[in-house]
Symmetry: C2
């Protein structure tokens, strides 16, 4: 095989009460990435989109991830990657993770799968570090593996796949910038033990609810007493979106990653679309450009299309 195309899905990290440990993969949007072997050793990258991302491999998230994978090979190879980024950078739905995870998944498939999923996560985390300053895996893992993933631990890496019941996801992306670094900086370093206990009751409830396919339990567990009250101040119209989504029948939801996108989960498509209408109604008239998505959970992860 000399050339491969992959679809790398957007992802929602944190999942309300699962700060830094939970994430899920979306059917849409996906980045489209094509990787081909070249005769000249080294890596070249070309973006087919207009997001103005750097094409120098060392400055590109996919580039850094691929270079880290290539360094683990026995001998130098030549690769050329084209990226059509459909997940907007800075949207909070795992744009950098899709570049990082999609590129290494493509390379692994192109090379005959020499690396394990855990190794791919490690390579891709180097890309995430370039984008966010932190080696985190809560977008990379669901992007690579699909479904809902739990990062039980980063050192050592311990990723647990959780198969969710069918769920619809409605997202709104208000096009303002929330820097991940800012969103992280405003968090309190110290928290109350009693709040932490409430949070881990909800996390345990959410994991149990997903695995039992108990929508009511999922809904009751989608509560965040620690992060959302602080971070939501960075997200325009957050409480209005949440209130009206719940009134429209959402199971629950919150900030996607560190924002600015807001996601809501629901059991059926009609509810998911009603939530989308509420979101659109709220942002129309604010003057803030926005886009909305209604999608489902991607249980596959990066989708590999073999080419030639």
């Amino acid at each position: 095989m000399k050339k491969i195309t992959v679809h790398a899905p957007g992802t929602v990290a944190n999942l309300v009460c699962g700060f830094d440990i939970l994430g899920l993969a979306l059917q849409d949007p996906c980045d489209v990435m094509t990787l081909e072997r070249t005769d000249t050793p080294g890596l070249t990258i070309r973006h087919l989109d207009d997001h103005g991302l750097p094409e120098t491999p060392e400055k590109n998230v996919a580039g850094v991830s691929l270079l880290s994978l290539m360094a683990a090979l026995d001998e130098p190879i030549g690769l050329h990657m084209t990226i059509e980024k459909k997940i907007k950078p800075g949207s909070g739905i795992g744009s950098s993770a899709a570049s990082a995870a999609g590129s290494v998944a493509a390379a692994n498939a192109l090379l005959g799968n020499p690396f394990s999923k855990d190794q791919l996560v490690q390579f891709a985390m180097n890309g995430e570090k370039l984008a966010t300053g932190v080696k985190h895996a809560d977008n990379i893992a669901p992007c690579l593996m699909g479904g809902v993933t739990l990062i039980r631990s980063i050192h050592p890496l311990d990723i647990v796949s959780i198969t969710p019941p069918p769920l619809y996801v409605t997202l709104v992306h208000p096009q303002i910038e929330v820097r991940t670094a800012d969103a992280r900086q405003i968090l309190k370093k110290q928290i109350l033990l009693k709040d932490a206990i409430k949070q881990w009751g909800n996390i345990a409830g959410l994991v149990a609810g997903l695995m039992k396919q108990d929508y009511e339990l999922i809904s009751r567990s989608l509560e965040d007493v620690l992060i959302e009250p602080i971070r939501s101040i960075l997200i325009p119209e957050f409480s209005k979106v949440k209130q009206r989504s719940l009134a429209a029948g959402a199971l629950g939801g919150g900030i996607s990653g560190s924002g600015p996108s807001i996601f809501m989960l629901s059991k059926d498509e009609a509810t998911a679309k009603a939530i989308e209408s509420e979101m659109a109604a709220i942002f129309t008239g604010t003057g803030i450009p926005f886009s909305t998505y209604v999608t489902t959970i991607n249980n596959q992860g990066v989708i590999i299309h073999e080419l030639s």
Copy 2:
């Protein structure tokens, strides 16, 4: 029916990383309680053991729980209860919860099950409050329902049953007094967010591991970075017991409730017995009287024996 006998099991609360939210029920030891209807309205209690517990209903954990249930009935009834307490008070394996949960489960069965499980938990929590000063349900819920229970929330009460895989439990009870109030008081009210994140990764991992019947994941998740490092100083030989139990093949374990008992989980009986030998070897020669148990998980909760 005029008379009923129940077995109310001991329980292990907290389960290492599940502070204040998780608990499991044991096959052994169990309190034996007999409840009979009498013609004179009111409640009388007699202890068949020599623990010196008060028999005045208002000062007795089972008594307070039963009075709370009786107050919810439409008309006054007469009850007499005898209790043979085989779970030592102050052992940290849910002695007061067994009194509280056993008594209300017996009364509910005797009266034709007028109350739901959640109502029984509420009645029994009044008994727990008498014993520990706090209305907590992490021993009561597994005692009543069996298996592993998650208290997602106390207000409103939200109890989730989790069916564990087959597990052996080894316990050692060093007979020193650790007051629950003391064990609670030495905890820090504020904790680091990064430690809380580690803890909720482990809790999520433990719930997933139990539900997936993944012993390795259970083992990796049985880690407590917050409570154990503080509370274990109240428990003699704690680190030695833990180290040698793990070396003998334990999946993991820690302080049972707020101590002084220490529990260890394992996959098979031979390992559970090897752990018991290690525990006994450690406490023999310390001069501290101790007892050990090897048992399994009780998946039934309070066992009702109908009599007449």
